[in-house]
Symmetry: C2
Subunit: 314 residues, 2 copies
């Protein structure tokens, strides 16, 4: 479930005028911006951007860029983009940053539905005049390229049918490859990048049933490198992305020097989807609330904005 | 340009009734079927199928399956399917037939526009409850799998921008790989499967300018195997698909024992697109008309149907 508290009483024009008042003059009134935009869903934000452009002949997102700065600006910028366009931006940033950020590509490719992933690929082309796979493939090489390009170019079947025999066979293929430490085996990449998520869940469950431990546990002996990290993220994102994101949030807040980019990414991309589930798991796993920990690790308007997206009552 | 002569005076209901009369009783009246359906475009055929289902509570394509046989049945069946669905069927047949038919996969992946290819992938899932890449990847292996899966999963950028420096650089990469006989180099596959067609044309032209011969000429020393055949077809389909199809038609008619499947495929899939250009090139290259040669190699209603699609005046 989502955490975003959406105000249903809503007029795009009134919002646009209120936002314009908030950014007029010296220093933006960030509280007002947070109060308004922290309670609007994607469709409403889209309407506000359109109303703003009509009334003030100006791009609202660009205006924010000149009025806001630092983590708050980045969070607002991400929040104001249409979801597919936002993911296209996140993917492009990740490609440019390189190996430390490849898990962002995996998230987009494996957590989104096949049609959502397609929408990101289309948005990417509109924005960058290249295809996503084109940029990704020219910035990577070897096994990592095979895996990542395979994942982003897949258009998985999204039906619920399961082929139990196939799950058994492919669980064996995965197990043999992992046992022989051939993590980069073509068949491993083929299975993970082409099978439907439902089929892969059946395969992973079969793996666990047959061997007494999960595939991720099986992978835990693998040496840590860019490829095996991406492989882990792939399986986690397909198997249980709530758990995956809980870990991303935890790592972002508990490491020395908060990882604001990761925090912003998870909260902004999941607030309208399943951030409530992620928060519940966070509490269960860590015995502290996401909100409480976030309040300790961040400050000011940036903190207030994220807490608002996390569902804080005004 | 298309060869199909479309009758604009058109009523789906009248057609459906006339078709029903033609298939009623003993032995279908094939002349009537050819006269009607050989002059209807894809949108009209779709409407006829709908009208037929409404009036006679029966699937017209299935009715044809029981009324017709052999090459004529196959040609009618292909002709009556919606274009994306037809390509999905052709791809599936090719996957099942294996290596001798992989060029059909290449055609679909490289001749269609990126959005048309996407429509085929969607149609494939509806029909087969699997993704196209999933079936393709599980029926192939090694370099051939890398190339074919890369091609069908790509969603190429379709803009007209060209990066001349990139074309130069990648023409060199392709040339070096071919010179060193590393036809299966990951970079060769990356370039061919991710770059936009416009960019690839620039790269191929640059290859020719820099080395005095075309990339396909460069490839002509490669040993003939499934992979190099698919590689040749890829370059031909991207570079000049009219020329490619002319060759397919020529080989289909000139070999010992006509290849009806190839004949039907080219004529049915291109009749509404560019079969006229293919015919013109055929005449230029062979000094005989496609129609004339076809009339020698085929017979009966099948011949008449193909000639109708080739634009023969009644």
């Amino acid at each position: 479930m989502a955490t975003l508290i959406v105000h249903t009483q809503f007029s795009p024009k009134e919002d646009a005028v209120a936002i314009n008042n908030a950014v007029k003059g010296l220093g933006a009134d960030k509280k007002t911006l947070i109060n308004i935009l922290g309670h609007r869903n994607a469709a409403q934000r889209y309407q506000i951007k359109q109303a703003y452009a009509e009334i003030f002949q100006e791009d609202l997102v660009k205006r924010f860029e000149s009025e806001l700065s630092g983590d708050l600006e980045k969070a607002f910028y991400r929040w104001m983009l249409d979801p597919a366009d936002r993911d296209a931006v996140l993917a492009n940033v990740a490609i440019k940053k390189g190996s430390s950020e490849y898990h962002v590509i995996v998230e987009i490719a494996c957590v989104l539905s096949p049609d959502e992933l397609l929408a990101v690929r289309k948005a990417y082309q509109v924005r960058y005049k290249h295809s996503l796979e084109e940029d990704l493939a020219s910035h990577t090489s070897g096994d990592l390229r095979k895996l990542l390009v395979g994942l982003v170019t897949s258009y998985r079947y999204s039906g619920e049918e399961i082929d139990a025999k196939l799950a058994e066979k492919e669980a064996d293929i995965l197990h043999d490859a992992i046992k022989d430490k051939k993590y980069n085996h073509d068949e491993v990449i083929r299975i993970l990048s082409t099978r439907s998520k439902t089929q892969l869940m059946a395969t992973f469950n079969r793996y666990k049933d047959d061997h007494g431990y999960s595939i991720n546990k099986g992978l835990s002996d693998a040496p840590e490198n860019d490829f095996t990290k991406a492989l882990h993220a792939t399986i986690e994102c397909i198997y249980d992305h709530i758990k995956y994101y809980e870990k991303v949030l935890r790592n972002a807040m508990r490491r020395i020097g908060t990882d604001e980019d990761a925090l912003t990414r998870v909260i902004v991309t999941r607030a309208e989807k399943d951030l409530k589930d992620i928060k519940e798991l966070y509490y269960k796993e860590n015995s502290v609330s996401t909100d409480g920990e976030l309040a300790k690790e961040t400050s000011g308007d940036y903190e207030q904005f994220l807490l608002t997206l996390l569902g804080k009552q005004d």
